[in-house]
Each structure stands twice: as C-alpha cells, then as structure tokens.
C-alpha cells in the first residue's frame, strides 16, 4: 500500500473508531438509569457493541499508523480537536426519546453503510463490517420498534419524540458527507460512498415516521464539522471524564 493510501486509511479508521467510541460512551451512561430494568440491560448491550467496534477500528488504525501506539493510546491520548467523530454521536442523552431517535437514525444509516462495507476490498474492513452489521440489524429492530411505540403511544411520548427528531435532524446531513480520505479510498474500493446512501436512508426514515405518527421537519438545517475536530462543547466533558486515569498517570498498566 502506498503512503497516500496509508494516511487516508488511518484517518478513515480513526473517524470510524471515534464515531463508535463516542456513541458507545454516551450510551453506556444509561447503565442503571434506564426507564425499566429490561431496557437498561438492552441499552448496555448496544453500548458494548459500539465499544467493541471502536476497539477493532482503533487496533487496525494503530497498526496502519505503524508507530507502536495501541488502541488505548488512540482513545485516551488525543484531545478534542483530534477527535473526528460525527457530531450526532457526542450530543448528550437529553432524554430517552432523544437517545432513541439518535440511535434509530444511526441504525438505519449503519445498516446501509455496513452492507456496502462488507464488500470492501480491504479484507480486514469487510470482516469488521460482517460482524457489525449483524449487531446493527438487531439494534435497528429495537430502535424501530421504539420509534413506533413511542410515536403512537401517549401524547407526551409523541411530543417528546417529535421534539427529538426536530433537534437531531440537522445533525444527520453530516452522515452523508465524504471526507477527502474517504474519496481516495473509495477509488480503490476500500471505503463506502456515503452520498449514495442518502436516498435509501431518507426513504426508510420517511416510511417509519409515517407509520409512527411522526414527521420529518420541513425546515432543512445542518451543523457539521465533527470530522475536522470542530465539535460541540459537550465532547470535551465526555473526554475529560473518559481519559482521566490515563492522563493523570500516563504509561501505567491497568
């Protein structure tokens, strides 16, 4: 593999890893705080899948980088500006509806994205995608059911779901923007064309919304910048908590 591909692959893998870790960390905050015990357990399961996914991407990224760094070096010793996760992953769990709608938008996206990635020319990536897509299909079944139940449930749940959709809507366009690295890797059949997924994603989401007594906002807006390290103020607090031990006592074995 040439130098350019190598550095493109590294930044691509970091983006994928950061997305998974930040969402996993956020989702793990539900542990012991779920609306009932069964759901508490299910949310922890989703969080575990994402942290596991992050580890696979970080491990691969560390190998590609070739500087002897580890998954933990990448997760614990990069700052806010270095994290390249998409913004939707870092937003706090404002309420259960917010977390569910976020998860639903991301699950629809992940199923489409990973289906493509399974046929990546990079075998390591296609293997990760094969494992991850099974998890994401299961996540989608869950989040889709929640969207339906809460959309059609009570007036309050319908109102909370609609407001979560309205709040999150402008964070979805970023899911479909290609970075330079992705474009370079796409040419070699390694990465996935995000732009191509928009139509199917919108179609699925519209259908589910219609079923669920919910609406996509008329107003189109977007907030972007995660891949360039331009984050909300929320990420820094998440990282300062997550990284505290490694940063306080660098270089130790835990």
């Amino acid at each position: 593999m040439n130098k350019i591909t190598n550095s493109a692959l590294y930044s691509y893998l970091l983006g994928m890893a950061d997305d998974a870790l930040i969402l996993g960390q956020r989702t793990s905050e539900w542990c012991s705080r779920g609306p009932f015990l069964e759901e508490d357990i299910a949310l922890s399961n989703v969080a575990l899948d994402y942290i596991g996914r992050a580890r696979m991407f970080y491990q691969y990224a560390a190998e590609v980088e070739g500087l002897g760094r580890t998954e933990d070096d990448l997760a614990y010793f990069r700052d806010e500006r270095d994290f390249s996760n998409l913004l939707i992953n870092e937003l706090p769990n404002f309420d259960f509806a917010f977390s569910i709608v976020r998860q639903y938008f991301l699950d629809v996206h992940a199923c489409l994205y990973l289906a493509q990635l399974t046929s990546s020319t990079d075998q390591r990536l296609s293997a990760v995608a094969c494992k991850a897509i099974k998890e994401s299909r299961y996540h989608l079944k869950r989040s889709q059911t929640w969207v339906l139940q809460l959309g059609q449930g009570s007036d309050e749940s319908q109102r909370r779901m609609q407001s979560a959709i309205d709040e999150l809507w402008g964070y979805t366009p970023e899911l479909f923007i290609m970075t330079e690295s992705e474009t370079a890797l796409l040419a070699q059949g390694i990465a996935v064309n995000r732009e191509d997924l928009l139509q199917d994603w919108t179609k699925s989401v519209m259908a589910d919304m219609k079923n669920s007594n919910l609406q996509i906002p008329d107003q189109q807006w977007k907030v972007i910048g995660g891949r360039e390290g331009e984050h909300s103020e929320h990420l820094g607090h998440l990282l300062s908590q997550m990284q505290i031990l490694q940063r306080s006592y660098p270089g130790l074995t835990w």
Partner: protein, 311 residues
C-alpha cells in the same frame, strides 16, 4: 388431616424436595421468601451503582467493556430474582415502592462509595466473592424458582470475581501509587464485605425460621468464616497487607481468627445513615421517575393495539 397442605409441605421440606409456586405453602414462608428474595434482587440492582460510577472512567477500553458487561450482568441477576419473586405474587411495582420507601433493604455494602479504580477491583473480588459463598449455599434453597435463579447467577458471579481479582493483580504489581490504591480499597471494602453475611447467628432475627424451612442452609457465621478462609491466601498472593491485625491462622479451629466487626456501624448503615444510602435511593428513584412517561407510553400503545384488534 394427614394430607393437609401443611403436612405435604412439611414432608417435602423434610425430604429436601423443592417447593414450587403452585404448591401450598405457609403464609410466613411466602412472606419470608418475598422479603429475602426481593432484598436480594434490590441488592443486585442497587449494586450496579458503585461500579457503574466507574464505567465512564475505566482506564482502558478493554476494562471498560468488561466492567460494563459486569454491571449489566448484575441488572440481569436483578431481573431473574424479581421474576422469581413475582412467582410468589409480589409485583415489581410493590417491590420498587418498598425499596423507595426504605421498607425493603438491600446489601448494606452498596451504601459505601466506590472512590477509586481499585474499588472496582476490590468490589468484584470481595463483594462478588462474598456473594458467591452465600449464593452457592442458596442453590440448595427449598423454593424452586429461587434455587434455579441462584444456579444461573453463580456461574456469572465467579467470572465477576475473577475479573475483579485481575484488576487487583494489575494494581498490586504496578507502581507504588497503584499498590497504595489497591491497599486502600482492600482496607475499606474488607469490613463491609464481612458484614454482608449479616449479624452473628446469636443476633440474627430471621435466621431460625429460615433454617427450619431450608430457605437458608448455612448460618451467617459459618458462611462468613468460609469467605475469610478462602480470601486471606488471596490477599497474601497479592502481596498486600492484611486489613485486620487480628487475622491469624488458628491451628486448633482450622480457621482464621479475625477481629471484632463494628456492628454499630452495620446498624447505622443498614438503617439509612451510610455514606451513600440517600444517593443510591435518589438515583434509583430518579431513573424510575424519569422513565414513567416511557412506561406509560408503552402501556398506551399496547392498549391502542388491543382495542384496535378487538374492533
């Protein structure tokens, strides 16, 4: 009268056969079980909090996953136990209400704070370790659903204990700062772990009846001694100092002697004035209250579906 419910029940207990939900049982047996089993369920669920306190700060991604999976398992244990208690006609709402009002207790160990990463290790090692000693004995308990829940749970608890001990091994072999962290955690978690087995047999309010009904099979003191005997060599293996100067092998008894447990502290903590009692209940109650609209919405959804299919 020979085949009265009571006679059949007594014969089954005598013959060490399980009592099942549909079997006749004395009202006090049922009451005693509900008390003990719901207390056990609440302990699993409240026990998610001290370790859960470190999920966001776990020092490696692998440790984060193992810890999250562990805390999630405890939720699962709570679930099995609530379900088993429901077979006695106690509802989840009643059990939650009793927890929030303070009427139902949970293991007092969880009213202590998890102050450092080493506490996560010490809790897995000592608290799950103590729980295993108790729960292995409860596998033989006379109520079928409780016994089966214990068998399922014990398998996972031994994994928890191992992962906790692994954290302690890493710390004990680490820098002086890490070793001190491990020692501090051991010193703080040790005594409350011994208290997990409950008061001395001579002071235990419920023990007599429970032993008679074979709900409990070994006494508090007996279980506590087993735990101490198995744990002291593990402390030595870590190279940590013993947390009690009176811990000494007694050749004659074939057991370790140990110092006096501070039962005043135990009473203070169990009756509500431990360092975290109020936080634990507030946390649980807040999650429950925040989730009210979700549970209401689910019910509304299912009602709509039911009336739509009836129409």
């Amino acid at each position: 009268m020979s085949d009265s419910g009571q006679a059949i029940f007594d014969r089954r207990i005598e013959a060490e056969q399980k009592i099942e939900p549909k079997d006749w049982m004395p009202a006090d047996y049922r009451k005693n079980l509900i008390r003990q089993m719901s207390q056990h369920a609440h302990s699993e669920v409240i026990g998610m909090q001290p370790e859960g306190n470190w999920i966001s700060r776990a020092p490696t991604l692998k440790r984060k996953m193992v810890l999250l999976a562990k805390v999630q398992d405890e939720g699962g244990h709570g679930l099995y136990l609530y379900s088993a208690t429901e077979t006695l006609n106690a509802t989840r709402d009643e059990m939650n209400a009793a927890l929030h009002s303070g009427k139902a207790k949970y293991a007092s160990i969880f009213n202590y704070p998890a102050l450092s990463w080493a506490d996560v290790g010490a809790i897995g090692w000592l608290v799950d370790g103590a729980a295993i000693v108790n729960q292995i004995s409860l596998q033989g308990t006379s109520y079928g659903p409780y016994s089966r829940a214990m068998i399922r749970i014990c398998k996972e608890e031994s994994f928890h204990q191992r992962q906790g001990y692994e954290i302690m091994i890493a710390l004990a072999n680490g820098t002086p700062m890490q070793k001190a962290m491990a020692q501090d955690a051991l010193n703080r978690v040790w005594w409350p772990s011994l208290m997990m087995f409950g008061p001395h047999d001579s002071d235990s309010a419920h023990s007599g009846r429970s032993m008679q009904w074979k709900i409990k099979l070994r006494t508090n003191d007996d279980l506590r001694q087993s735990f101490i005997d198995q744990t002291v060599p593990q402390i030595k293996f870590l190279g940590l100092e013993l947390p009690d100067p009176d811990l000494k092998w007694n050749e004659e008894r074939g057991h370790y002697d140990f110092g006096d447990i501070d039962w005043d502290e135990f009473k203070r903590v169990i009756s509500g004035d431990g360092p975290c009692n109020r936080d634990r209940i507030r946390h649980h109650k807040k999650a429950h209250d925040d989730g009210q609209w979700v549970r209401d919405a689910l019910e509304a959804y299912h009602q709509k579906k039911a009336s739509a299919s009836a129409a």
